[in-house]
Each structure stands twice: as structure tokens, then as C-alpha cells.
């Protein structure tokens, strides 16, 4: 998986490419934990993300909580059908802001 970060003032976009799974979720977790200082809006761009496992969901949930804690927001954009199905089945579709 690759993570492309773009920061524009308080808005940080992380564009993910590949699989967010058991092996790659720790990388994203590390990126999230080290990048959120001063960020008011976190955008996760999933346009090139093929697939997500529960390890990936855990990182998203923890990022969502971190952003809420610092009075910011997080949204997930360009979600493909396979990933959307995972969000729906797990109830994450109701927790996350998905556009």
C-alpha cells in the first residue's frame, strides 16, 4: 500500500493505494498518529484503495476518534463498491462521514 499525503493549511488529505489489511494497517496508523498536529480536517481518499480488512477499520476508527478529540473532522471519499460493502456490513457506514 502507498500513502500520499497532501496538506493544505488545516486540511490533510491521505490518498491510499492498494490493500489496507493486516500487513499495511500499522503503516497507516503510524502516519495518522504522527501527522494530525494542527489538522482540522482529515480527508481519506480511497479512490485507489482496493480492499480493507478489520485491521484497516480499526485504524479508521481510531483516526476518527483522534480528530473528534481535537475538534476536527474526518471524511472518507471515493470509496469503491467492495470497500463500501465492508463499511455497510460493519456499521461503519453510519459512523464515518463518507462522500
Amino acid at each position: 500500500m502507498t500513502i500520499n499525503k497532501t496538506q493544505n493549511n488545516g486540511t490533510l488529505t491521505m490518498a491510499l493505494e492498494g490493500h489496507l489489511d493486516t500487513m499495511t494497517a500499522p503503516e497507516l496508523e503510524q502516519e495518522v498518529n504522527s501527522s494530525l498536529d494542527g489538522v482540522t480536517e482529515l480527508i481519506m481518499d480511497f479512490e485507489k484503495l482496493d480492499y480493507i480488512s478489520s485491521a484497516g477499520l480499526r485504524v479508521l476508527l481510531s483516526a476518527h476518534k483522534l480528530m473528534a478529540k481535537q475538534q476536527g473532522s474526518m471524511k472518507v471519499v471515493h470509496v469503491n463498491e467492495i470497500v463500501m460493502e465492508v463499511f455497510e456490513v460493519t456499521g461503519f457506514a453510519d459512523i464515518l462521514t463518507i462522500e
Binding site: 480488512s53 476508527l61 476518527h64 456490513v89
Partner: protein, 138 residues
Amino acid sequence: MIEQTFDATIACFPQASMFVDGWLESLGCGIKIQMQIDLALDELFTNIASYAYGPEGGKATLQLDFDETTGVASVTFIDSGMPYDPLAKPDPDVTLSAEERGIGGLGIYMAKKAVDKMEYRYENNQNILTVYKKIKEV
């Protein structure tokens, strides 16, 4: 039926994943179904790697089978770790808000939802878990 045995560690997950993906591709499985089987594999292999054995570690065997008369593929996970029936666990509450959510408990549930059927048995001191998924019309 083909099978391969791996060290039951997270580090061996990519090898297990390549083994299963290569097989599904050779069967002409579509990408969406392949992703769903990958999801189940990720959750179930990770579960064995994380919980089946103590610090001394152990092995996990994957058996792959395809029934040409029904178009159903099956992946069987075998480990000789402590007895654990993933189907005995109640499903997590997926209606809770982010604040109420714990950080775990979703893996088996996601695996269950990604496949058509899951069966567990404990035999000869082994956990034997099989997942079934129809991969093509026959």
C-alpha cells in the same frame, strides 16, 4: 485439493495470501469475490497467528478445494493451537456509535459476512475451519 503449510505468524500472511490468490486466479474467479475471500483469509489467518499458539508459535495449514459441479470454492484453515470455535462467539453490535465502539471483535464477523458459509470442527487436537464461497455459475 491443494494444501500448503505456513508458520502461523502475521509475517507469513502475504505468502498465504499469494497462495490463495494464485489459485483463485487460475480458477477464473472475479475480482470482487476474490477480494471477499481475501478478506476472510486476512481475518482468519490473522486470528490464528495472533491467538492459536503461545509464544512458542506453531503452524497453520491451508487446504484449497473447488467443486466443479457447484462452482463453490472452499478454504480450510487447520491449526493445532488451543481449541477455539469462532462461530460460538456472538456477533458484535454493529449499530453502536464511534464513541461506544471497542477497537476489536469485528474480524470474525466480517469474515462470516464475506463468505457464504463457515463450518468449524475440532478433531485430532486440531481446529478445522472451512469457509465456502460460490465463485462462478456452472
